[in-house]
């Protein structure tokens, strides 16, 4: 049975690319997509997917706050942050419970980037 994922990003343009990647490259089943932190919490609670991807900079509730709320209710949640935010954000997310962090830009035409992304996802399920 294929693994399931929920994809959350405020960019619909990027959601399409991420969904495409998970469906075609990783053979995941995409259960839903959302555009902000509130939708992330709602979708996670509803579907309890094997993985949820979260952007950080989003309107209404950002990805960092959504991640903390999901982990509070579901400590074993597999959360992959996908963000352009640099600096201490990665460490902050990982220490708050995220299982992986992928930096934008998402270079899906670059095989090295694609392999790194796949490896990051694979490591989440092998932890």
């Amino acid at each position: 049975m294929s693994k399931t994922v929920v994809v959350v990003d405020d960019s619909k343009f990027l959601i399409k690319q991420i969904v495409d990647f998970f469906e075609k490259q990783l053979e995941f089943q995409v259960l839903g997509t959302g555009n902000d932190g509130n939708e992330a919490i709602e979708l996670y609670t509803k579907f309890k997917p094997d993985l949820i991807t979260l952007d950080i900079t989003m309107p209404n509730k950002d990805g960092m706050d959504a991640m903390k709320e999901i982990i509070k209710d579901f400590p074993d949640a597999n959360i992959l942050m996908i963000s352009a935010v640099r600096g201490s954000a990665m460490l902050e997310c990982m220490s708050a419970g995220a299982k992986g962090y992928v930096e934008k830009p998402l270079k899906f035409a670059d095989s090295e980037f694609v392999n790194d992304f796949k490896e990051t996802v694979s490591e989440i399920f092998n932890q």
């Binding site: 960019s11 343009f13 990027l14 900079t57 352009a84 935010v85 640099r86 201490s88 934008k104 830009p105």
Partner: protein, 159 residues
């Protein structure tokens, strides 16, 4: 308003990173190679005379800044494949977000200005009037001759 020359000097120290990040983002988002044809320059104000503008505010406790991505024509803005204009705005907004994120990866930038937090990108059609602030500006020209104009203006936070 007299501009602080210290900011201009700090921007000059980042002269290589602004166009380099632009080229990398164009390749990642549009899938085409880009190049710098005219040297990028530092201006006293962001130019706002293009019909399509994406603006992203950023800042920290010392500085406020704005990244502006603009296009002279529909064709230039249409460089990123999209199904509708709304999606195109969304894509270039994400381009702006990513550009700023990548700036924060550069010690030349963060050593001078620190880390800036990003807001949500906005689109504006028609002329835009920007406040005076030193701005590093230039154009990335793609192999198929589309032009992406990028400008980053920054000033000390007014308190």
């Amino acid at each position: 308003m007299i501009l602080d020359n210290e900011i201009k000097e700090k921007l000059e120290q980042c002269d290589e990173i602004f166009p380099a990040i632009g080229i990398e983002c164009v390749e990642a988002f549009a899938g085409v190679k880009g190049r710098v044809v005219e040297p990028w320059v530092i201006l006293e104000r962001l130019p706002g005379n293009n019909p399509h503008n994406i603006m992203l505010g950023t800042g920290n406790n010392l500085y406020q800044a704005i990244l502006a991505i603009s296009f002279k024509s529909d064709a230039d803005m249409g460089l990123i494949a999209s199904s509708c204009f709304e999606e195109l705005i969304d894509a270039w907004g994400e381009f702006a977000n990513t550009y700023c994120g990548m700036l924060m990866d550069k010690s030349e930038f963060t050593g001078n200005f620190g880390y800036l937090t990003q807001s949500i990108p906005q689109y504006s059609s028609g002329d835009v009037f920007y406040s005076k602030a030193w701005a590093f500006c230039g154009t990335i020209v793609t192999t198929d001759d589309h032009e992406i104009n990028i400008g980053f203006a920054i000033r000390k936070l007014l308190v």
